[in-house]
């Protein structure tokens, strides 16, 4: 028996991050924009994707990877609109991992695509840490969840390039200080963008789609 001490400096998530890196190269090669949508359960991720798919019909090739603990429901909702979707079932895990994105791409017909949306498992904490090879993270916050979420879960709001306040049609019915949220998110993430949308009325959906279109154009600019 011999004791040995090895000094290394290796990212704790090195194995997973290598997958993410390979994915990012692949998406760069194919010119595919990949937004990673993160929010609490029920903030309106799938509903916003449905609205987005309808807006972009005939303009972009879209595919979707859905992450949920159980059920194919979300993928079925997207497929009903004629868009390829693959459901990753995490079986209890609270986030998606780059290996699962790899896996999804190898078993499902999702590529080629102009935009590949990843809807992460409903959770504001765990998905924050995991790189999926995405272009940017999108944090969604519905007005019914309360305006204190960015204060309670600052990590995701400081890392998401885009914050989307959803269910804006309900603003008249719930106490939600939009300006306070705007100010706080801006301080957490000075370079970020905040959008206010309602998938129900369509408010803000055009701005959201324009943001995606311009990010895609940027990515493809030689």
């Amino acid at each position: 028996m011999k004791n040995q001490i090895v000094s290394i400096r290796r990212r704790a998530l090195a194995a997973s991050e290598e997958h993410a890196h390979a994915l990012r190269e692949r998406f760069a090669g194919s010119g595919t924009l990949v937004p990673n949508l993160i929010s609490s359960p029920g903030s309106g991720k799938t509903t916003l994707l449905e609205a987005t798919v309808r807006r972009f019909a005939g303009r972009y090739r879209i595919s979707v990877i859905e992450g949920d603990v159980a059920t194919e429901r979300d993928a079925d909702r997207i497929r009903a609109l004629g868009v390829p979707a693959h459901q990753v079932l995490t079986g209890g895990a609270c986030h998606l991992d780059a290996r699962q994105i790899d896996g999804a791409l190898s078993v499902a017909d999702l590529m080629p695509a102009d935009i590949l949306f990843i809807e992460n498992v409903g959770n504001l904490i765990c998905p924050t840490t995991y790189d999926l090879g995405e272009d940017f993270k999108v944090a969604l916050l519905s007005v019914t969840e309360g305006d204190d979420k960015p204060f309670k879960y600052p990590a995701i709001f400081s890392r998401a390039e885009v914050t989307v306040v959803t269910k804006a049609d309900l603003l008249p019915y719930v106490p939600f200080d939009l300006e306070a949220v705007r100010g706080y998110v801006a301080s957490l993430n000075p370079g970020g963008t905040l959008l206010v949308v309602s998938s129900t009325t369509g408010e803000g959906v055009d701005e959201w789609c324009e943001l995606l279109a311009s990010r895609l154009e940027d990515k493809r600019r030689p």
């Binding site: 011999k2 040995q4 090895v6 000094s7 290394i8 990212r11 998530l13 840490t129 995701i156 301080s187």
Partner: protein
Amino acid sequence: MHEMGIAIEIYRTCRDTVAEHGGGRLRQVRIAVGELAAVEPDLLVFGWEAVVADTPDQGAALTVDFCRADQRCPACNQAKDRSEGSWLRICPDCGTPLEVRGGDELDVIEVSFETDEEGCP
């Protein structure tokens, strides 16, 4: 508790490291966790204990070095402290966005282990 998933990843990284050095049983692992990494050190240690239990590495200790982020205000041209528990990334004195360096570490920095064989190089 996502620290559990991270503990599993750390364990994988450590096992890989040991395997690259001839194999053996883990004794102690030292990691760096930044204050902005969204990882709770106590929960991570708790998760680690659960991960190594019932493996040949049972009892291996995880030590966490907690790293502060380095924040500078470009306008005041000085380092600024974050007030305890606050994530604000603006200068408390002049409101300019701060330049933040580090604080997002989640690194394995040292792996101690017992080699399987006597006197092997």
